[in-house]
Amino acid sequence: MEFVISLWAFFQNNILTKPEFFVGFIVLLGYILLKRPFYEAFAGFIKATVGYMILNVAAGGLVGNFRPILAGLKDRFNLTASVIDPYFGQVAAQSAVNSIGRSFSMMMMVLLVAFVFNIVLVLLRKITKVRTVFITGHIMVQQSSTALWMVLFCFPHLQDPSVVVMLGLLLGTYWAVASNLTVEPTQRLTEGGGFAIGHQQMFGIWATEKIAMRMGGKHGKTGKKLEDLRLPGFLSIFNENVVSTSLLMLAFFGTIIGILGKDLMQKIDPGFSSTQNFFFYMMSKSFNFAVFVCILQLGVRMFVNELTESFQGISNRLLPGSVPAVDCASSYGFGSPQAITLGFLFGALGQFLAIIGLMVFKSPVLIITGFVPVFFDNATFAVYANKAGGIKPAIAIPFASGIIQVLGGAFAAWYFQTSQFGGWHGNFDWDTVWPVFGVLMKNFQYVGLGAVLIFLLAIPQIQYFKNKDTYFLIAEDYDAYLEKIAAKQAAS
């Protein structure tokens, strides 16, 4: 008996509570189950483990880089600050989970339970009406991280196994139901492209199409489209992740550091040497954020690679006829490049205005624009809006979304206390529906959780009852769907 206990203790201390090895062994096990050669499985183990360790280095770097600035803001203005970006959010969630002494390995277990539950919901599609499997690996990691902290925040006394099961069910339901909402808009956008969106703004995509159709369709026709619009060429530099992240960080942190002033920064930040010019200090501090985001992405890419590949294999093998829910950027080929740039620009405009608003009204949390939500969410909305309603909604919706992202993100960073660690998830669904889920769970505990689950599971039922005859057809055979709709219109 003693032997078993010490074996368990060994397992718990070295693998279960060390996310890097836990992730590595999951990948190893997956490859062995898929009957890959041993050397490939071993390489997968190394890549996943090293990838996670790289991620840890980046997370530490981000937090360390942020610390003097947060301290300065606290000291001078009694403010906290959060970058609304899923990478910063993931780091903040990880720091928050570790700060209360819980193991972040749960994130990985939650992810697996949620993925399995998503598949179960699709297998039971006759009853659940769910058609989509969420397979975007890096998003699943980010969402599992943030949601794990939310659940620990709402249910602080819950034991680890219960946390994993409960959150796994909740997140799996969200992945299934929300990506299922994007089937119709995406099939219409892509004219039968055969995929759905599994990302961070799925409720947003659904709402965008509804609103854009109403805005553009006043005269029974859709409005003017974006295709003829010419935009200045310099905007293309924003296509590059590193450039846009660095510029955004320089704009925001440069301003903040400038306001805090040279003397205060020199006092707080031991990294600021007396020989360094203030402007160059500002620049290197700001660019450092881009550096750590790049490292973080490298790490995530390394261990998520292995996941995404096997997830796609599993969903193809287990669920023929189901729709894969993938990265929102998959929709960009179906929109004009102008829509993408314009969505980003007006989203950024909305965010900046809302940030000024927060400062004017003395919000305790200062919000800093992160690249991922302002670009990917709003560009996606612009693409869908342009298709459904033309130029007007393609400008108005990203603008409104920018405002919502900042206000929702500020509320969430304050309410869930991740602003102490400098970040919040920040993508559209995590500034809207998820904070509401969190507030319900915090205040009504299991009743709140039940309400959220019932709400989510009811959505595909409502979708189904509205269009019983074409609900599955639109996902399976778009041409047949169009014929059926045309025949229906001809008959009426």
Binding site: V243, N305, G333
Partner: protein, 101 residues
Amino acid sequence: MLKVIAACGSGMGSSQIIKMKISKVFKEKNIDINMTHSSIGEAKTQAGGVDVVFCSMALTNNFEKAKESGTIIVGLKNLLSEQEIRQKIEENVIGKTKTPC
């Protein structure tokens, strides 16, 4: 062996999905490839030295320079359509690459 890059905005999601589909098509054709996926920024710096770059149609204008050096740039409309990838490989890639395949 052909050097091939799949590129997307952040080098995370969609480039990996097309990478899997592209690899499958080249395998069918019995063409040996060395395939990576990356962000547009990274791909831009490497594009001159590879044979083919795949990316979303919306992003092909990032690779004008590489095109001049003989790299084939394939813009995809539907990143998930194996059919489109196969057709574009047959029409634009096979027999036209810097490295003979």
